[in-house]
Symmetry: C2
């Protein structure tokens, strides 16, 4: 790849299903990924927080990523998470993804030690880029301080972008802090994805390409439609539709969002394995899941993912 491709649209941090013995359910994983793309996602971010990435082993991650590509999914639609707490293993996952042809990698800062110096975070990524040792590396920083316990200050992002303009191409900001997201848009050439659809219109207005949102695992079609309507300047329809998109998000976030979304998929697909999570997470019980499903139906007429839209087109390179 020459230049920097930018995926415009909604990207799903796809859920990771487990069998009853908590091994990875590869069949469901691939089915779900294909459905998300059919539902209108422009890409997938496997192994994000929503994908329980840090509960999945290294070998499992690499095998799943290969399984996606072997199943016919274009790696140019994939931005897998590769951030662990240490350089050698994060570099190994990142190199593996680059060599598979992935559009990029999405990488957490090292998150074991807390309160570390900005220089330490900068050095970590500088050394990671060196260790991956691939010109084709496209790195999306992953800022989710409320979960990881360690975030990436805007000043560090700016320094990394300036020092490695061909590698440090973007960021997923899952902080939920719009002031932080807006400050990131001021960094020259940085591709900024909010980690939710709530600030989607504001992000599009600042020139952003879309969002990477957990809720896209269920509601991708409506989020994608919002972006299409934005591009078509169909403001009235966009505003009405986006109101429902926001409501959907707010309702689901009222529950433990990862187990709740899995429980919903178990109910909607009829495959009970979907409800499984790995510890330390706990499955949402079936009664709570049914109540949530009933609420989505009653308030929004939502009865499960659409899976009817054609895949979104890949954006043209912009870099």
């Amino acid at each position: 790849m020459s230049g920097i491709a930018r995926l415009r649209g909604v990207i799903a941090p796809n859920l990771t299903p487990f069998n009853d013995d908590l091994t990875v359910a590869e069949d469901l994983y691939i089915d779900h990924a294909q459905r998300l793309l059919a539902d209108g996602c422009v890409g997938l971010a496997p192994f994000g927080t929503t994908g329980e990435a840090l509960s999945v082993g290294m070998e499992e991650r690499m095998a799943l990523l290969e399984a996606l590509v072997n199943a016919g999914i274009d790696p140019a639609r994939l931005i897998p998470g590769t951030g662990l707490t240490n350089l050698p293993d994060s570099a190994r996952l990142s190199r593996h993804a680059v060599d598979l042809g992935c559009a990029g990698v999405m990488t957490l800062p090292p998150f074991y030690f807390k309160g570390v110096a900005e220089d330490g975070l900068y050095d970590y990524f500088a050394r990671l880029i060196d260790a991956v040792d691939r010109e084709t590396l496209r790195l999306y920083l992953y800022h989710i301080p409320q979960v990881a316990g360690v975030g990436l200050p805007v000043a560090v992002v700016r320094r990394l972008r300036a020092a490695f303009p061909n590698q440090v191409v973007g960021i997923k900001d899952s902080s939920g802090d719009w002031e932080n997201t807006r400050a990131l848009f001021d960094i020259d050439g940085l591709i900024v994805y909010p980690g939710a659809e709530l600030p989607l219109l504001d992000a599009l207005a600042l020139g952003g390409p879309g969002c990477i949102s957990a809720t896209a695992n269920l509601n991708a079609a409506a989020i994608a439609q919002t972006i299409h309507r934005y591009d078509a300047s169909d403001t009235a329809a966009m505003t009405a539709g986006f109101d429902a998109v926001r409501q959907f998000r707010v309702i689901v976030q009222g529950y433990a969002p990862i187990p709740a979304q899995k429980r919903l998929l178990a109910l909607w697909t009829g495959d009970a394995r979907w409800a499984n999570v790995r510890p330390p997470l706990r499955a949402t019980d079936i009664a709570e899941g049914r109540a949530l499903a009933a609420r989505l139906d009653a308030e929004l007429g939502f009865r499960g993912p659409a899976a009817t839209a054609p895949p979104a087109p890949l954006a043209a390179p912009v870099g």
Copy 2:
């Protein structure tokens, strides 16, 4: 091993030295481990927080552990850290340590997701024990919530101890919260090591076997001597000596303790590689290290580790 061996004395969470390219300095690692045992440590806890464990890759950890054993260190003196954020990789490290004959493993709770339910923490360890699949597994829980961001509530420890009495044998409590440590001593048969020497005498008085302390990387002989004097009821000498032990700890903790201890070893051994840390940590600069060394000399007459004491005897099995 039948029954449960209990290492009585001071255990060092040995530092991990790095070459200038930040690869592991295996030669220094082994030298340091041997010196610590010669200095009076009864055992080592490789890959604790002080050993920058979460900055070291999985393959590197396993290779270093094998290097210690190949260098002639009795694995019955080793309790390596094996806790990552996911079950398969934590199980792999744990099984490797058990199969090498290690006295036990010291395992963090999964620390990516925060604010998780007690049941989720319990399930994680229950499944870990199942996945390791070794009768000879001896598990020491590792409680250090101020760094990991996730701790192990006493209630969870109690449940695990009751459910797996042959596997869940002990805990390292690095919380610095004596009320928590004291509550752990009430759990039947649990081996409790405070993660510092400050509460050592209180822990010994409650029947504890000693401590696992970062500062043992430098000051093992004096900590070991405190325990010997306690056992010999040599109270006056113990009290006087322990006052210096405590002062040493308090002085070193006034700096960033991991980089500061490494800088001191660089100064005292003459091998500059000792000052290296992996990001996100930052090395202590040489002027600050010299000031700290001067202060330890001026206030305590301390000019470097002794390395003169014979190794402490291994305790007899108690379980």
